[in-house]
């Protein structure tokens, strides 16, 4: 009980920090480039209008940047303070991208950040412009490395388990960096950030139009943001599809949770929207199977026939496993190496996970005794069962099922809003081209409302990705209960409360400063 509250609190704290971090970071990722476009226009034309415009958005950038940095360091510390077992188990792989991020990306970002803000009178125009571009590139490079690390947790590759050190070790750096999940995740995440930034720029500009202020500034800002946003959101949709396909291949339980799919079939439909039946609970499968099987998964739903099969396997009539199928096993699937395999039931995976751990313990016993033959036998037992290592910690089926309602609804919010933003950017471009954008009040309101919506969309995406992969800190290898630190639950509760209070105050201060800056407008010094 104590352990479970420690795990829940540690997860809560990490989720709280990550979500808070992600309020500020996406804006800086995209706004960096929007500012760079504007300063490039200034550099080329010498028109002071562009300098003034770039400088206004820089102020918004700086306010977000500071708090993004502050929350970023908390995440780095939390890997060690709250997830110390994880830090050792995967530090050999996870640490490297993090260190490279520091050496290559953070220094670029922070060094040129100083030039970008303090260098207007001190460096040449060209050097200043280069600094602005390097801040944007540095910020995006940071994102690359941390997303490589995150992708590796979802799809561990390029490593081997070393029984001597009792941890995973990297054997192929390029496999880690160029993992298809990493590439897709990076593009999906940064284009999401660009979309968010574009919406924020359009929303703030719309406020000026509503107030009949700064028309030229607002319209030109909107124009750049709409083009940037439309391209980004189209790439976002494309990588979103790629992401769903990868999840189907590598994290089938996540996909099942996203769909609220308990029993799979050939030609599985895709739920476009629907309401889950709260009475359907996987824990009942064993405890009260009559109730479990009598409950429908949805109270209401509208589905696209065979849509999920197409999304998951690129084939209309293919089989997509549901939560129950994954627990029971027995279905055939093609793994990422293209091999046909039969899914093992959870019970067997648990046994094999325990065998792997036993093998590791035996290996060390034999090593201490100098028994080389014993070491070989134990190593074989470990290696043969290693892909199920994490299942050895699992005690009941419901432990491997993520929170279905949270992932199901978050996914639909994310996709629904994502589609809306594509049309929104097209609308913005159309109204601007037709010279109607300054007069259409309804559009101004729509643009302002889109700001909170895009943040909700972005957070929902992370909920799908992270809640959906529970209980795994490393897919199939390390569940949360084996990753957590040996600290007391009360300590984690206390620090969570401190963080919550601090974050709330900082967010309130940040918003108030932002609103004041926006109210003052681009001419304020």
């Amino acid at each position: 009980m104590l352990l479970s509250s420690l795990i829940d609190l540690s997860r809560l704290q990490f989720a709280l920090t990550a979500m808070f971090h992600w309020i500020f970071v996406p804006l800086t990722l995209g706004l960096g480039f929007i500012i760079a476009f504007m300063e490039t226009a200034y550099y080329r034309s010498g028109n002071e209008f562009w300098k003034r415009t770039a400088k206004f958005w820089m102020k918004i950038f700086a306010i977000n940047f500071a708090i993004g940095v502050a929350t970023g360091i908390i995440l780095e510390f939390e890997f060690g303070t709250n997830w110390s077992n994880y830090s050792w188990f995967v530090g050999d792989i996870f640490g490297a991208p993090l260190a490279i991020e520091g050496i290559l990306a953070f220094f670029m970002e922070s060094t040129f950040f100083a030039v970008m803000f303090f260098g207007w009178n001190k460096v040449s125009k060209g050097f200043h412009l280069a600094s602005t571009w390097l801040v944007a590139i540095g910020a995006n490079l940071s994102a690359l490395w941390i997303l490589v690390a995150n992708a590796w947790m979802q799809y561990p590759t390029g490593m081997e388990f070393n029984p001597d050190t009792a941890r995973n070790e990297m054997v192929d750096f390029w496999a880690v960096i160029f993992s298809p999940v990493a590439i897709n995740k990076f593009i999906h995440t940064v284009t999401n950030a660009y979309t968010l930034s574009a919406i924020v720029v359009i929303g703030i500009s719309a406020w000026y139009l509503l107030k009949k202020r700064e028309e030229e500034f607002a319209r030109k800002s909107m124009k750049i943001a709409a083009v940037f946003g439309l391209i980004s959101s189209l790439v976002l949709a494309w990588t979103g599809d790629g992401s769903a396909y990868q999840v189907a291949q590598k994290q089938p339980m996540k996909l099942a949770a996203i769909e609220g799919l308990y029993q799979g079939k050939n030609g599985t439909p895709l739920v476009a929207f629907g309401v889950l039946n709260p009475s359907k609970d996987i824990a009942d499968m064993k405890a009260d199977s009559a109730k479990y099987y009598s409950e429908e998964p949805y109270l209401f739903h509208v589905s696209v026939p065979q849509g999920l099969s197409l999304l998951a396997n690129r084939e209309f009539d293919s089989f997509v496993p549901g939560i129950e199928d994954i627990i029971k096993g027995g279905y055939t699937y093609t793994n990422f190496k293209g091999e046909k395999r039969t899914a093992l039931p959870l019970e067997e995976r648990i046994i094999r996970g325990k065998l792997a751990k036993e093998g590791l313990a035996m290996y060390h016993k034999a090593k201490t005794a100098g028994d080389e033959e014993g070491m070989e036998i134990a190593k074989k037992q470990l290696t043969d069962n290693f892909e199920h290592f994490g299942y050895g910690y699992i005690k009941s089926p419901e432990e491997i099922v993520p929170n279905v309602p949270l992932t199901f609804y978050a996914f639909r919010i994310m996709v629904g809003l994502g589609i809306f933003f594509i049309f929104f950017f097209i609308l913005t471009m159309y109204l601007e081209k037709k010279n109607l954008i300054a007069q259409k009040k309804w559009f101004h309101y729509l643009a302002i409302i889109s700001i909170p919506l895009v943040y909700i969309c972005s957070q929902a995406g992370w909920i799908v990705a992270e809640v959906g992969r529970q209980p795994w800190t490393i897919q199939d290898l390390l569940p949360v209960q084996a990753a957590v630190s040996g600290v007391s639950a009360s300590s984690v509760l206390t620090t969570t409360i401190i963080f919550f209070v601090l974050f709330t105050i900082l967010l309130a201060a940040e918003l108030k400063i932002m609103f004041k800056q926006i109210k003052k407008g681009p001419d304020a010094n």
């Binding site: 306010i63 050999d92 108030k512």
Partner: protein, 380 residues
């Protein structure tokens, strides 16, 4: 081969740590906000002079943490997960710094400028002391248990934990750690004062800083001598690289200096540079005092950190059982990872070059009121 890379990475991490102590001049400068500055004009000048640089210090801290995580993950895991409250305190003290520069001077900042200045002061004063305390545990160890094979115990897989309820706060009570913490604080404040003398265009403020540096700098030198005496008389722990057995050795760190020699020379050069930098203030030749003293601090700190782990020394000793202690051999990443990361360090000179270039571009003109009030200026 692995032996080489383990030592190479400890040297890199130590160098990052040493550069971090130099860059803590930002924190040292922040401690001048209460007591040393006399009016709002000086306060604004000070914050804007430091505001060009705080990001660099912060980034170095983050990279120092990332580099330890990558090269010695068992230390990251054992120390951060064990000395929980110590690291948490350091974290909070740096988080409140990160927002304070940007928010302090802005309308609508909710808490008022003074609160953010107080945050900066807290970060400058206690952030430096606690970082010093944390570094002190490289020499004094902690109350932890560490057993990698615990991962095979399904009901209790946590491989390391702290054995007392203080979770790292007990490190503050160790006299050596505290002395080191105060030493880091004094170094940071001395460098902060030297930075003010070099970078702020206010004769009155600079004269006051010169007077203070004579007191703080002398205290730093005395404190540093105290640290060296305490360190060289400490009992350290040696590891047998053949079988991993850890055993106590009297005056271990002193012997590390005499046996390795080059850290002793580095230390000596560092001390000479620090003294040269400080004496130049007494002689009123202050143009390069900041850089000379800073270089001395980097060399001195680097040599001490090298001594913590080189020459078969356990760098994080367990008070529970010395056999749980961490050494370069049992806590490092694999050969492959260390090697891969070593390729990345080839780029460090390039990174340093653009940092130096940007630093010079922003530091060539002293911070003055006229510049801050220009329409193009970004004022904190």
């Amino acid at each position: 081969m692995l032996y080489f890379y383990q030592h190479y990475w400890w040297a890199v991490v130590s160098l990052l740590g040493a550069i971090l102590v130099f860059l803590l001049f930002v924190q040292g400068g922040q401690t001048l906000l209460f007591g040393t500055v006399k009016n709002d004009k000086e306060r604004t000048l000070l914050i804007n002079a430091l505001g060009h640089k705080w990001e660099l210090t912060f980034t170095t801290l983050v990279t120092f943490g990332g580099a330890i995580f990558a090269s010695f993950p068992l230390y990251y895991s054992t120390s951060f997960g064990g000395a929980y409250w110590l690291w948490f305190s350091i974290l909070i003290l740096f988080v409140i710094q990160a927002v304070s520069y940007e928010y302090r001077g802005k309308a609508g900042n909710l808490l008022g400028a003074r609160t953010y200045e107080f945050f900066l002061f807290l970060n400058g004063m206690f952030g430096t002391i606690l970082l010093g305390v944390a570094v002190g545990t490289f020499f004094t160890g902690g109350s932890f248990v560490m057993n990698k094979l615990q991962i095979t115990d399904i009901s209790n897989p946590t491989i390391s934990y702290w054995t007392n309820g203080w979770h790292g706060l007990d490190a503050i009570a160790h006299p050596f750690n505290l002395l080191l913490g105060i030493g880091v604080y004094l170094a940071a404040r001395t460098l902060g004062l030297l930075y003010v003398i070099m970078q702020i265009d206010s004769e009155e403020f600079a004269e006051r800083a010169k007077l203070q540096v004579k007191v703080t700098g002398s205290a730093f030198v005395l404190g540093f001598v105290g640290i060296l005496i305490a360190l060289f008389t400490l009992t350290g722990f040696s590891v047998n690289p053949e079988n991993g057995i850890v055993s106590p050795v009297k005056y271990k760190y002193f012997f590390n200096m005499t046996e390795l020699v080059w850290p002793a020379i580095t230390l000596l050069v560092g001390v000479v540079l620090v003294l040269w930098g400080l004496i130049s203030v007494f002689l009123n030749k202050v143009r390069y005092s900041f850089y000379i003293t800073g270089a001395g601090v980097v060399l001195a700190v680097w040599s001490l950190l090298i001594c913590a782990a080189f020459n078969n020394t356990a760098f994080f000793v367990s008070h529970v059982d010395p056999q749980y202690s961490l050494t370069l051999y049992n806590s490092s990443s694999s050969l492959f990872t260390l090697k891969t990361m070593t390729y990345v360090t080839i780029l460090i000179p390039f990174v340093l070059a653009y940092i130096v270039f940007a630093w010079r571009s922003l530091t060539k003109v002293k911070v003055n009121e006229q510049d801050l009030n220009k329409p193009d200026a970004h004022k904190y």
